[in-house]
Amino acid sequence: MFGLYQSAFGELVANPLNIVMLLIGGLLLYLGIAKKMEPILLVPIGFGIFMANLPLGGLMVYTLEGLPAPVPPINELMTALGKGELGLLNVLYAYGIETEVIPLLIFLGLGAMTDFSPTIARPISFIFGAVAQAGVFVVFLIAYLSGLFTVNEAACVGIIGGSDGPPTVYLTIALAPRLLGPITLVAYSYMAMVPIIQPPIIKLLTTKKERAIFMKPQVRKVSRLELVLFPVAIFIAAALLVPKSVPLIGMFMFGNLLRVTGVTGRLSETAGGGFINVLTFLLGIIVGALMPAVLFFKAQTLAIIGLAVVAFAVSTSGGLLAAKFANLFLKEKINPMIGAAGVSAIPMSARVVQKMGQEANPRNFLLMHAMGANMAGAVATSVVAGVFLGMLQ
């Protein structure tokens, strides 16, 4: 009888690590709300961490290792929910995330929100987008050789360096679902911190004179035909070269096609509007709820936090150096910072480049050029995820 009125204070005090997790959740809420850093993701993730770490609530029921309790076959689901053996978030996790449904549909929405015209106008962007995946492979190797991670887990740690959310989630569910919580949290947090991580690296590897290199702000006007052919061509090329990238690239390019046909505006507005918003807060809150203290406080988590910085740094440097290398052959020099925007984190790194370009030379307006590399980086990360799946699945 008194059990009905049992409060959760005792449980909470008995597990001080839960309190640390609550502080982490609070920090994410603060960064999202007060500092406006990726609020659309950090606010749901922060609140999800609360849901995971206040005991006895039952929104998400965990196994002893801190993983979501498995969901029974659908005919027994109602009974399990009624008995409190499972919570709402268990169901959302099982049907939305483990099935890869939510990250893939989010990618459809992102495609509908993405304007590839800066990439089409400067196809060289693809080189930067590709080279900026360097961090993915470098950290993949380091993580694997460290002995802390299996080869599958190492791939998921590496892909953080592509700084693109949905491919990271997609790959991790497929290869290392146990690490989904920490990897997604670290990936989205670092994306939010790109404006802090990238500038020192860019400054280290470029001179002020290079950063001041002026580029005409406008990129070439791109025709409707090019815009329509782009997603179709990229999809076919990716499907033939890296078949395992089909789910990600297919959704991304389908969303983009809806945007550019000129006759499917209603569909693309919905895909990039209410549709993706619903999926985004579902993803955020579920990811937050994947981080009970027992799972989070492990050497692996700390290693992920450290390795991810290396991944971002190597990818940024790779893009920069590729752009400097390209300048050796180009008559009209490009601003090497454009390469750093190949680390997608759309649109964070493009913003960083834009801002640093203006600081070095007030006439500079590099946004469109940086966006080109940015979008190319997103495509490249999806392809890399497909490569890993092909190798490891």
Partner: protein, 73 residues
């Protein structure tokens, strides 16, 4: 006196105008904020001088190449 013509680098919507006709600006000062690609982008003064022409207001949609201001220096 030389004139510097400042144009909008890309299309978008003016959301804030930070200088006045006849006012003085330093190189690097923010002339206005252009919302484009869902981002707020400051348009900076390329030279120090006086605003000789300014014909934009908040809320206005602009194309790339439209005039932001003419600065005399």
């Amino acid at each position: 006196m030389a004139q510097e013509i400042v144009e909008f680098p890309i299309a978008g919507k003016v959301i804030e105008v930070n200088v006045n006709h006849g006012g003085a600006v330093e190189e690097g000062d923010v002339l206005c904020i252009l919302e484009s690609m869902k981002m707020e982008n400051p348009i900076l003064a390329p030279v120090s001088g006086t605003i000789a022409k300014l014909d934009i207001s908040p809320g206005q949609m602009v194309e790339s190449g439209d005039l932001v201001a003419i600065i005399e220096y």
